[in-house]
């Protein structure tokens, strides 16, 4: 009896905390999405009108598609630049190439920095007049390559993607490295008797055996890419400047729900509808990805 009481006492507070601060807000956002809002006062029940508005009426439909397309691009670009390079770095460190001890730490260091610092740092790097990128280009006779990186639709989003990859590449590296270190020595010895080819080792042995790490890293990247907010907010501003070429669902939702001091009004209903759509999309696809990737994992 005392034991049961003890367990209850331990479980109830965190459960109440989660219910109050996680479950309740999510459910209320769901509820908000079905009402019309006059500024901040809740109006009448409108069913799916807010969802219809953000998906099918102009200008929202174009904005939604534009932001969503950018999230998709960010996901695939980071899959290559962050997870791909992360895997290669992990492999190099695991194989103990020269300098591995140093790189094991150096690669992970940026992950520790806060996104705000990284955002401002890259804004300075990419400054059109005094930024180290343009100054280096001019200094090495490549002045024609110097660009207003964050001011052009063609380069702004890619600048943010690269900043993000630099910041976070240490995370997949670490996860993959841990996965590689779990591979039993006997398997590696057996492989070594068969072949000397690194490619065969990677593709036939290491890659299948780090599948659990890949599941974690891919799923987290998926969730992160579609919730992307801090870095674009810091580097491009809430408007997805220039001309919405860096707009992503997170910024778009924030602007719609809370308004943008320098431009537009707020629409809680449409904002909540967007939040619900983002949430459902991420939940469904992340579940699907996890399910599919789990299937290919091998138990050692």
């Amino acid at each position: 009896m005392a034991r049961r009481l003890w367990i209850t006492a331990l479980i109830v507070p965190p459960l109440a905390f989660v219910a109050l601060f996680v479950v309740y807000p999510i459910i209320s956002a769901f509820a908000y999405a079905f009402f019309q809002w006059h500024g901040l006062a809740r109006g009448e029940f409108v069913g799916f009108a807010n969802f219809y508005k953000v998906l099918f009426t102009q200008p929202y439909a174009d904005w939604t598609v534009n932001a969503f397309t950018h999230n998709v691009l960010v996901f695939f670009a980071l899959m290559v630049l962050q997870n791909g390079i992360g895997f290669l770095l992990a492999y190099c460190v695991w194989r103990e190439l020269p300098g591995a001890a140093f790189h094991r730490i150096a690669v992970f260091l940026p992950v520790v920095l806060s996104t705000i610092i990284v955002g401002f740092l890259f804004k300075l790097f990419l400054h059109p007049l005094f930024g180290v990128v343009n100054i280096s280009l001019r200094g090495t006779g490549l002045g024609w390559l110097a660009q207003p990186w964050l001011g052009q639709g063609s380069t702004a989003l890619w600048s943010l993607i690269i900043a993000n990859a630099w910041h976070m590449v240490g995370f997949p590296t670490l996860v993959f490295l841990a996965g590689m270190q779990r591979i039993p020595g006997e398997i590696l010895d057996a492989v070594r008797m068969e072949t000397e080819s690194e490619w065969v080792k990677i593709s036939k042995v290491v890659w299948p055996l780090v599948a659990p790490s890949a599941t974690v890293v891919f799923t987290l990247l998926f969730v992160g890419s579609f919730n992307w907010f801090e870095l674009p907010y810091i580097m491009a501003g809430v408007d997805g400047s220039p001309h919405k070429s860096t707009d992503v669902l997170g910024l778009y939702f924030y602007r719609t729900a809370f308004g943008d001091q320098s431009g537009s009004g707020q629409d809680f209903g449409a904002g909540s509808a967007l939040a619900v759509l983002i949430f459902v999309f991420i939940a469904v696809f992340a579940g699907f990805i996890t399910f599919r990737l789990r299937k290919r994992e091998i138990q050692i």
Partner: protein
């Protein structure tokens, strides 16, 4: 027993001294973090005359202010008094019923305010005013007098004068303009500060009368000239953010800065030694009316649900008084909306003078009442124009068709 009586007396005494102060403490929220010291001074002046009322001034970061205020008001924990935005931003909060209507019965001084100022804090459909307007802002050109003198330059009288002056500064190794447009809202500022004189008052009147839209030749031509003048903006200005562009001018690296009158106080603080002048952008010919773009910034509003309504109204009446307007102009270097304020600062006086030839800052004043707002459209379209992704004609067309979604006169 004796101990109990003693402690009761002490406790009662503490409550008695604390109670009046606590009962009449008004909370006052603002987005002007940089003006905190000055507001505290204004509040002291008020408190000296109104014993028993204290005002607690709290500031929040400007970009998040709307969100914070909205959330607090919706949750019933808002302040007694607050800074409210103007135009569409005001309507968002006022239409939800969070603000106390103000009129000549509870704030008599409002009657003497300029109609344009009161209109900024009035909901269009109901004609109810919800805030005492505090300041107007003017989009104009600020220039570095020392750099102009050194290069033998005068305030330009025509567009060509401006081009020549820019050439001369450039030849002398000075950036003619310090502006950058990576920060979206700066693009709207460029249109207000540079294109107002070029499009002319006639265009504005026709636009309001429903006789013209943004595809009008006068507007498109003004945008063309705007794009041309960016030749004298810093290299890569489309990637230059707002803070960097301010620094270019404040540090004396650039000769001119297109911006709001709110920049003057800021530049003075950053570089007190700099000699500044201002002018309204000239038109194409010497006789063309030189126009600035003006709008009202925001106002002071009372929470409809405040429990200290009388005290709050007393304070708002103080904020509408000439005494306050004068302090506001003197200490904050801003154009107070209170009528009859004399400007000690020469530049401020000049701004007030320029305001006599002005058109409203069009998108903010007239086109922020629906989605997509004119400001959002214009900011994006001008970024396209400057980035070489759209022609002036396309910008005019996109603005008109975009606004047609909710602006009746543009619906065909």
């Amino acid at each position: 027993m004796k101990k109990l009586i003693m402690s009761t007396i002490v406790a009662l005494g503490a409550v008695a001294t604390a109670l009046p102060a606590w009962a009449e403490e008004l909370s006052f929220w603002s987005w002007r973090q940089e003006d905190k010291a000055q507001y505290e001074k204004f509040i002291k002046a008020f408190e000296a005359k109104n014993p028993g009322i204290t005002v607690k001034f709290e500031t929040f970061e400007a970009t998040n202010y709307n969100t914070i205020l909205s959330t607090a008001l919706a949750g019933g924990s808002g302040p007694d008094l607050m800074f409210a935005r103007a135009y569409g931003g005001l309507e968002n909060v006022a239409n939800a019923g969070y603000l106390l209507p103000l009129d000549k019965t509870n704030v008599p001084a409002l009657e003497k305010f300029a109609p344009a100022a009161v209109a900024a804090e009035t909901v269009r459909s109901s004609k109810i005013t919800y805030a005492v307007p505090f300041a107007s802002q003017t989009m104009l050109v600020i220039y570095n007098k020392d750099l102009f003198d050194k290069n033998g330059l005068k305030e330009p009288e025509t567009y060509d004068d401006l081009v020549k002056a820019s050439e001369k500064l450039k030849a002398a190794g000075v950036m003619p303009f310090g502006n950058g447009t990576a920060t979206a809202w700066q693009n709207e500022v460029m249109v207000g500060g540079i294109a107002s004189s070029l499009m002319g008052k006639g265009f504005y009147d026709d636009l309001m009368a429903g006789k013209a839209d943004f595809t009008d030749k006068r507007y498109v031509e003004a945008l063309t000239k705007l794009k041309d003048i960016t030749k004298y903006f810093p290299d890569g200005f489309i990637g230059l953010d707002y803070a960097s562009s301010q620094q270019l001018f404040a540090s004396g690296m650039a000769g001119m800065f297109v911006g709001g009158s709110y920049e003057i106080a800021n530049f003075k603080k950053q570089n007190p030694k700099m000699n500044m002048g201002i002018f309204a952008m000239p038109g194409m010919k010497a006789g063309d009316q030189k126009l600035v773009a003006q709008y009202f910034d925001g106002g002071y509003a009372v929470n409809a649900k405040t429990t200290k309504k009388d005290a709050a109204l007393k304070f708002v009446n103080f904020l509408a008084s000439q005494e306050f307007g004068q302090m506001f102009a003197d200490d904050l270097n801003n154009i107070s909306a209170v009528p009859g304020v004399a400007f000690k600062d020469a530049l401020l006086g000049e701004v007030a003078e320029l305001n006599k030839n002005s058109i409203p800052y069009i998108m903010l004043v007239h086109f922020r009442y629906g989605e997509p707002s004119g400001s959002v459209l214009l900011q994006g379209e001008i970024q396209k124009l400057f980035g070489g992704k759209a022609t002036p004609e396309e910008v005019g067309k996109n603005l008109t068709t975009g606004l047609a979604a909710w602006y009746a006169p543009f619906k065909k």
